[in-house]
């Protein structure tokens, strides 16, 4: 493999992951663990594929992909923001329902190779996607320092105090969720539209990317800049395992698909344990639903 294409591939796959990592970072800063991002990714992958096939226009496909990524987030908003249902379980609920829906949508069009997103040529397109991911990370980093960042943090740190300060923490969490849904939609659409990955949609195309994203978010310390590196690292894992397989080691495709889960899980556990000792880094109300009028609390 030529090193140049290797780097391009890593960057391309990394950029795809960075988008949903950024979305997850924002929603976790507002206190919501958005596990339905897996549903967003799967559903938007299918819709953007179907729309692109139907209209022969990848840009329209991308647009619809992003919009359809928001749908699972809207359901999550109902259940876990405006009602106090367990976030993680309802995330899995909507992940599985929208994975099912994605199979319906994806099979509604003939299985053909679709047109890809191409600006100028494939390599430039990859670079553009990557650079836009990096720049959106930087923009987010800047926003986090300003008042809007404080607002988002207030919903994730102490929604009750935020409420009594006259802030609407539900609306902030809704915003966080919808943002992460849209970013998940972007990731999903790019899974088939981006030049370096497969052109054909298939049932298991996400391979649990959303779950991995949720698991690695603590290791970004909820910082968009670190998310760039984490994204690139996870983008390179599939290539690492291809390298390991071709180098003749006893390393099966099954172990290769196990690898990201294993790394994500260990990163998650390690960072949760390390961060638990350092207060101020983990949003205090992360994963906690808002219920007013607790009599004993």
């Amino acid at each position: 493999m030529v090193p140049e294409t290797l780097i391009l591939q890593i960057i391309g796959m990394g950029a795809v992951l960075i988008y949903s990592l950024l979305g997850e970072i924002i929603s976790e800063r507002s206190g919501i663990v958005n596990l339905s991002i897996e549903g967003s990714i799967a559903f938007s992958a299918a819709t953007s594929y179907a729309i692109t096939i139907a209209y022969h226009n990848p840009l329209i496909g991308l647009l619809f992909g992003v919009l359809s990524g928001i749908i699972p987030s809207i359901f999550m908003t109902l259940t876990s923001v405006y009602m106090p249902l367990n976030m993680i379980v309802s995330g899995i609920v909507f992940s599985s329902i929208f994975s099912a829906a994605s199979i319906v949508v994806g099979n509604s069009v003939p299985r053909l190779p679709q047109e890809r997103l191409v600006f100028i040529n494939e390599n430039t397109t990859l670079m553009i996607i990557f650079l836009s991911a990096v720049s959106s990370a930087i923009v987010l980093k800047l926003f986090i320092g300003r008042r809007i960042g404080l607002l988002i943090r207030s919903a994730g740190e102490d929604p009750y105090s935020a409420y009594s300060l006259g802030i609407n923490p539900w609306r902030i969490r809704m915003f966080g969720l919808i943002f992460s849904g849209a970013m998940g939609g972007l990731t999903g659409s790019l899974l088939t539209l981006s030049p370096m990955i497969s052109m054909i949609w298939r049932e298991n195309i996400t391979a649990g990317t959303g779950f991995i994203i949720v698991a690695v978010t603590p290791s970004t310390l909820w910082d968009p800049i670190i998310a760039i590196f984490i994204g690139i690292f996870f983008g390179s894992i599939p290539l690492i395992s291809i390298y390991l397989q071709t180098s003749g080691m006893m390393f099966s495709a099954e172990l290769a698909s196990l690898l990201p889960y294993l790394i994500a899980l260990s990163l998650y556990i390690i960072f949760r344990i390390v961060l638990a000792k350092r207060s101020g880094l983990v949003p205090r109300a992360l994963g906690k639903e808002i219920v007013l009028e607790e009599r004993y609390e």
Binding site: L150, Y163, L165, I167
Partner: protein
């Protein structure tokens, strides 16, 4: 500004917290709401500010009739609630909290803060993190925030220490109502402090408004006391007599060797070493300001967290590294500040007794403590806060531990329950049971303890109880130093 409450009702489950409450507040006067714990004062203020929603009734604000209000609405109208534990975002600085509220740049907010501090003579260090602030600082910061936001009505929930110790703040409240035509509503159970400052007084008991005084005079003290605790009951006299007998009572005990001892215990970076000892049959209390190491100290004593330094010795054995359940099996019982941390409200009373290995004879203890309950099958969440404290004390009665380590053990008790609990604890001391109490209220500490420690930044310090009883101000000075 004119706020009128019309027949407000509020339920918590079956419990009626507010029962047809009608009141009005207006600009230019200081109104006080007096009542014992659980009278519904705080619930009422929360409804006026919009944290709770009433189940029925109408709130009208300047003629606008509403079913409920939200904090955003009341902030826009200029109504502010200074809570007992002000709800600020702890991980941010005071300034950042204000930036959130005001939607302006940091520099402008800083200028505003300085300007208003000077104008109203309330000074707070707003660059500190809120978690490092004392309760009083938080309350003052919150007051400043509301002034910057053009407050027309300030609601104060149990500002007890501010009222009894802070002349500056009292003067501010007077000026605010006279010169700036603002309204002030104070909820409290400190009758004397309230009589000094109010223009009008409401008295509440068990969710009802019992009486309204349109003019205030110091002579009402005894009458108010009677109404607050019920005309027909003898609680107020019981309370007074307990207060008296306590001073006279002196029991001679032989203090042999220490049952419980801490050596150079450090629980938080910014708090000095804690050295204390408890002997058999002794009641020892440590007085702290809420949030200044009291929770951390309790957690370390209970073995929930490890101390940064130092050791704990119990009965001649070092138990610093022992897990909580081993300490409990050696005869220590722990009662934390937050009752939810010792009792699961979803348990039935029968299940709680089973967990504590109390057999059916445990009912005797519960009845001895006058716990009001329907049956053993009823859920603990049905009990009121005071009843839960009684239930906990009856667990002490049943399990007969050697040492009880508690944090604000009298939480939620009304005066009658308090007097009763005092008596029970004294009786248990006679049976050579020891008590180590972490208390935030120094008056309670003075009343019950044999020995008293004060915990401040420099660490723990023993204060002579006789001196402190004669002049409680010593304690206060030590606390804030």
């Amino acid at each position: 500004m004119f706020i009128e409450l019309d027949k407000i009702n509020k339920f918590f489950g079956d419990y009626k917290a507010l029962d047809n409450v009608s009141m009005y507040f207006r600009s230019g006067e200081i109104v006080s709401i007096l009542g014992e714990n659980g009278a519904g004062k705080t619930t009422l203020l929360n409804i006026v500010y919009g944290l709770y929603r009433p189940d029925s009734g109408i709130i009208s604000i300047d003629g606008e009739r509403l079913r409920y209000i939200t904090p955003r609405y009341s902030i826009n109208k200029g109504i502010f609630l200074v809570q007992q534990f002000p709800r600020l975002i702890e991980t941010m600085t005071g300034l950042e909290n204000l930036v959130l509220l005001l939607n302006e740049r940091r520099e402008d907010v800083r200028k505003l803060l300085d300007e208003y501090s000077d104008r109203f003579k309330i000074y707070v260090d707003y660059n500190k993190k809120v978690s490092d602030m004392t309760l009083i600082e938080r309350q003052k910061l919150y007051t400043l925030m509301s002034l910057i936001q053009n407050a027309k009505m300030i609601l104060l929930d149990e500002p007890n220490t501010l009222l009894t110790n802070d002349l500056e703040y009292i003067n501010f409240l007077r000026r605010f109502s006279r010169e700036h035509e603002g309204g002030v509503v104070i909820c409290s159970h400190k009758i004397k402090a309230v009589l000094d400052i109010s223009d009008r007084i409401y008295i509440m008991r068990r969710g009802r408004v019992l009486k309204e005084y349109r003019s205030v005079s110091k002579e009402y003290y005894d009458e108010i006391l009677d109404i607050m605790f019920g005309h027909n009951s003898d609680t107020s006299t019981v309370y007074k007599s307990v207060e008296k007998s306590n001073r006279d009572e002196e029991i001679s005990r032989e203090f042999s060797k220490d049952l419980f001892k801490t050596k150079d215990l450090v629980v938080r970076d910014d708090i000095g070493a804690i050295d204390l000892s408890v002997k058999r049959g002794e009641i020892v209390s440590i007085v702290t300001i809420a949030g200044r190491g009291d929770k951390e100290l309790f957690n370390v004593l209970a073995g929930l967290t490890h101390p940064l330094k130092g050791s704990i010795v119990y009965d001649g054995e070092d138990i610093t590294k022992k897990p909580t359940y081993e300490r409990i099996s050696r005869g220590i019982l722990y009662i934390p500040d937050n009752r939810l941390e010792i009792i699961n409200p979803r348990y039935k009373i029968r299940e709680l007794l089973g967990l504590w290995k109390i057999n059916s004879s445990g009912v005797v203890c519960i009845d001895k403590m006058n716990v009001v309950y329907r049956s053993l099958e009823s859920q603990i969440s049905e009990l009121s806060g005071g009843n839960i404290t009684r239930l906990l004390i009856s667990i002490i009665l049943c399990t007969k531990p050697h040492l009880v380590i508690s944090h604000n053990i009298f939480n939620g008790l009304d005066q009658r329950g308090y007097a009763h609990a005092l008596k029970i604890i004294r009786d248990l001391r006679q049976e050579r049971m020891s008590f180590l109490m972490i208390l935030n209220d120094y008056e309670e500490a003075l009343e019950i303890s044999d020995r008293i420690y004060v915990l401040n930044e420099e660490g723990s310090k023993e204060i002579s109880i006789e001196k402190a009883r004669l002049e409680p101000k010593i304690l206060w000075r030590e606390l804030v130093s």
